[in-house]
Amino acid sequence: LVTESVVEASVPESIIEVSVTEPVAEAPAVTQTAVSEPAPAAEPVESTAAHSDVPEHAPYLLIGGGTASFAAARSIRARDPGARVLIVTEESELPYMRPPLSKELWFSDDPKATETLSFKQWNGKERSIYFQPPSFYVSPTDLAKVENGGVAVLTGRKVVHMDVRENKVKLSDGAEISYEKCLIATGGVPRNLQVIDRAGEEVMKRTTLFRKIEDFRSLEKISREVKSITIIGGGFLGSELACALGRRSTDLGLEVIQMFPEKGNMGKVLPEYLSNWTTEKVRKEGVNIIMDAVVKNVSYKNDKLEIKLKDGRLIETDHVVAAVGLEPSVELAKSAGLEVDSDFGGYRVNAELQARSNIWVAGDAACFYDIKLGRRRVEHHDHAVVSGRLAGENMTGASKPYWHQSMFWSDLGPDVGYEAIGIVDSSLPTVGVFAKATAKDTPKAATEQSGTGIRSESETEAVAVTLKAETTAPPPPVQQKEDYGKGVVFYLRDNVVVGIVLWNVFNRMPIARKIIKDGEQHADLNEVAKLFNIHED
C-alpha cells in the first residue's frame, strides 16, 4: 500500500520501490472491447472512420505506444498538473510490457494466460502485462476538454511524416496533429535473416519474428500444433524463448532446436566460461543446441523447412523463430530532418535525450550520450522505463542528463538468474569472483551443480517443491570442476568497471550501480567483490 511508504519520508527510494511492485489482488480482465477508443479489436482503423477521433492538437505528443512512451506519459502527468498527453501507436493494443512475452506468460499454469495476458509475479500476485487498464486513459476526443487532463491513446495509427518547422505530424490516415513537445519512442522491428527474407512465401509463413503480443499468441498456438521449432539466435530473446519452449517440449511432444553462430548462449554478453555454463542449462531445459551455426539457406520441402548451414549440416524443422536482433525504427528521420547514428542505429540525441528543440527520443530507438559510459543505444526494458521517465522530466522543464544507470536481467529456467548493469560485452576483459563451495557444502554438491539447491535455499519450502517437480530428471554430474553457482563479474574498459553481472546474487543492484557511477580504477577487484557479500543469500 502507498500508505506506509508515503508517510515515511526518510525511507530510501529502493525500499519504497519494493512496495510498488505489489499490484492489487486481481488483474483487470482487459479485453479489446473494453477499450474506450473507437479502434476495433485487431485491425487498424480504416480511413473512413478517420479523422473524427483524432485531436488536432496535443500539447504533449508521444509517438509510439510502448514502455518508454508510457513511462514518459506518467512522468509528464506527475510533473505537469493537468497535462494532456496523446500517445499515437501503430499497434491495436494499449501500452504493455514486453518481458513476460518471453518469460512469465509461458510458465503460467493458467490456461487463459494467453488470452488474458495476466501472469503471476514472483510474490504470487497476479498482474497484467498492460501497464494500465482502459479506464486509466481518456479518449482522444475528450483529451482537449477533460478537466484535469489525462493520457489518451490513439491506436492503429502510424505517424508517417513529421514537420519540425511547423511542429506537426501527419498520420497514416492523413490526419494532422500539431504539438508543443514531442517524444519519439518508436522502438524497433525484429531483424530477419536475409536468407529467410529471400526464401519465399512458404518459408516466411513458417517464420516468426517475435516482438509483440500477436507474435506471442501466434507462437504459443504453433507450439501446440507442430512437431519441431527451431530458434535462430543465441541472445536474450532467442535463449529465453528456447527455454520457454524447451520446458513444454516433453508435454507437447515438441522438438526444440536453437542455433547460433557463437560458441554458446549469450556468447556476446557473457565471458566464455559463463556462456558455456549457460548453454548447459539451456540444454537441460530440453533444447537441442547447435552452435557455430551460420545459416546459409532455408527452403520449404515436403511440408518441412530445411535449414542448411554453411558447414553443410542440414536441419529439418516445422517452424522457425528468428531472434537475431532489432532494427530501430527511424523512418521519421528523413521528414523531420533528424540525425541517425551510423554506429549504433537509432536517432542521435544528446545526454538529455533531446534530438532538437521540442523533440526527445527514448527507449530502443534512442542513441544517446551516456556521460559515464559514452554514446550508446540500449534495448532493455528498464532502460525504456528510465529513459522514458527522463524524457518526460525534460519535456516538462527539467534539464537532466541520463544518469541513473538502467539494469537488465534474464531468466533461463530455474537455474540461471542474473541481473546486469552497464556495458556487458563479452569482448571486454572481465574479472569474475565466484563463491567457492566449501567442504561443508559438499553434501549438496550434486544439487549445487544443477543449481536447484542454490535456488531452494532462498525460496520457501513450497516454492522449492514446485521447482523440483518441474525440473527434468536429475541431470548427470557436470563434467567441469568449477561450479559458477553465484558470483559477480566485472567488465573492464581501460581498467575501469563499465559493466557488472550479478550471477545468481540478488538485491545488490544499488552497489553495482554505485561502482559504475564512481568510474574508479580499482587496484584489486576482489576487494570490490567483497562489497557484494556473495556468500550470503
Binding site: 502507498v2 529502493s14 510498488v20 576482489n526 567483497k530
Partner: protein, 150 residues
Amino acid sequence: MSYCKQEGKDRIIFVTKEDHEAPSNAELIEDDPNDPYEDHGLILPNGDINWNCPCLGGMASGPCGQQFKDAFSCFHYSKEEVKGSDCVENFRSMQECMQKYPELYPQEDDNDSAPSGGADNAPTASTSTDSLPTSSPDSTPAATENPAAS
C-alpha cells in the same frame, strides 16, 4: 583459500566465505546528497514532494492524480497538531474520484475511507494497478520472478 585462473582475457577468482570476511578496502566516492542529476526518493532535498517518484506508482498521474496531489500536499504541509486534520475536504474529493474508477483504485473493505487527520497514516485506497515493476527491481529479486511465477 581463494584461487584464481586466467582464461584468455577473462580472469576468474574463487573465494570462500572466510576469504571475504575481512572488510573490503575498496574505496567508494562519497555521494553528494544534493546532486541535481540523481533521482530522488519521495521527498526532494528542498522538502517538496517528488510526484515522479516510482514509489507512488500511478497515483499522481492517473485520472484522480490532481485530487491525490492536492490531498497529499495538504497533508505534507499541514502544521496542525493532528496532522492533516485540515485536509478533510481534499481527502473526501480524492475518495469520491477514486470511487469512480474501481478498476484503478480498488477499495479494500478494512480501509479507513474517512480521512482521519488524527493518525499518522494518510489514508488512501490501495495503490493503482499500474506499476512499471522493473523500473524498481533493485530490491526485488527480479530473476526469481520467472521460476516462482509458474
